[in-house]
């Protein structure tokens, strides 16, 4: 006796591999961009530890500097720095896509949105550096 089959056929499905993000460079770049958030969180944790040390006075703070000088921490921070900069660059480059700014009936070119963002980044960095390097 013939069994009833659904019509039309459901089709053959290929399940997406857990390593789908390794198959193409744009996917890998995307995942790296998302992973950058972990290094952002690491910076926050470090800053909280720093504030904690500062609360306990100059001696505790001076001792805490050894944490920053630990070679493993330095390597981790260098890696974090790359990811954090990668986050900033991808963020400013993508910002224009979310904002359809129109002037005079035509869409404003992307550089006019990301340009000021980069400029702000430079200014903020310069101000912070000046505040921290004064002594």
């Amino acid at each position: 006796m013939a069994t009833y089959t659904e019509y039309p056929p459901k089709g053959y499905r290929v399940r997406m591999s857990t390593y789908w993000w390794l198959a193409r460079w744009p996917y890998l770049k995307f995942i790296l961009r998302e992973i950058s958030s972990v290094f952002v969180a690491w910076f926050v944790i470090e800053t909280l530890l720093q504030i904690n040390a500062l609360i306990d006075g100059p001696l505790a703070y001076a001792e805490f500097q050894d944490f920053f000088r630990n070679p493993l921490v330095i390597v981790l921070n260098i890696i974090s720095l790359f990811f954090v900069i990668f986050h900033a660059v991808t963020w400013f480059n993508l910002a224009p896509k979310a904002m359809a700014v129109r002037m005079g009936g035509k869409r404003v070119p992307n550089l006019m949105i990301s340009g000021p963002n980069y400029a702000a980044w430079m200014v903020v960095s310069a101000v912070l550096a000046w505040l921290l390097l004064r002594g």
Partner: protein
């Protein structure tokens, strides 16, 4: 009729956190994490640092610097766990870990900043 999702709330936090992280973290991480420990530049003395963050502006800056990027991490990491590891079925656990973690981190930050001498 569908009720509109409240996702915009966490997306706003994610976006704000992304902007704060992009503008403020690179230079601070470079200085405290690389330049000062390696001796390339001289860091601020204890007193200079304390004076910088002692006032209300300094405390507010630190609160924003710590809280918003944590929510940025929470939102992004939640989606990375969904997409990267395909564990959507654990989504309550993931949400609690991510957003809960950000809330706890913010609370710790607020407490520490309040205790700055």
């Amino acid at each position: 009729m569908h009720k509109r999702s409240n996702e915009p709330f966490v997306w706003l936090l994610f976006s704000a956190g992304g902007v704060v992280a992009a503008l403020f973290i690179p230079i601070q991480l470079f200085l405290f994490g690389v330049a000062f420990p390696l001796g390339w530049l001289n860091g601020p003395s204890y007193d200079t640092l304390k004076d910088l963050i002692h006032g209300p502006i300094g405390r507010l800056y630190l609160l924003v610097l710590c809280a918003l990027p944590l929510f940025h991490w929470a939102h992004r990491f939640r989606y990375t766990l969904y997409d990267g590891l395909q564990i959507k079925h654990l989504n309550e656990l993931v949400n609690t870990f991510c957003y809960g973690g950000a809330i706890v981190g913010t609370a710790i930050a607020a407490y520490l900043i309040w205790r700055i001498p």
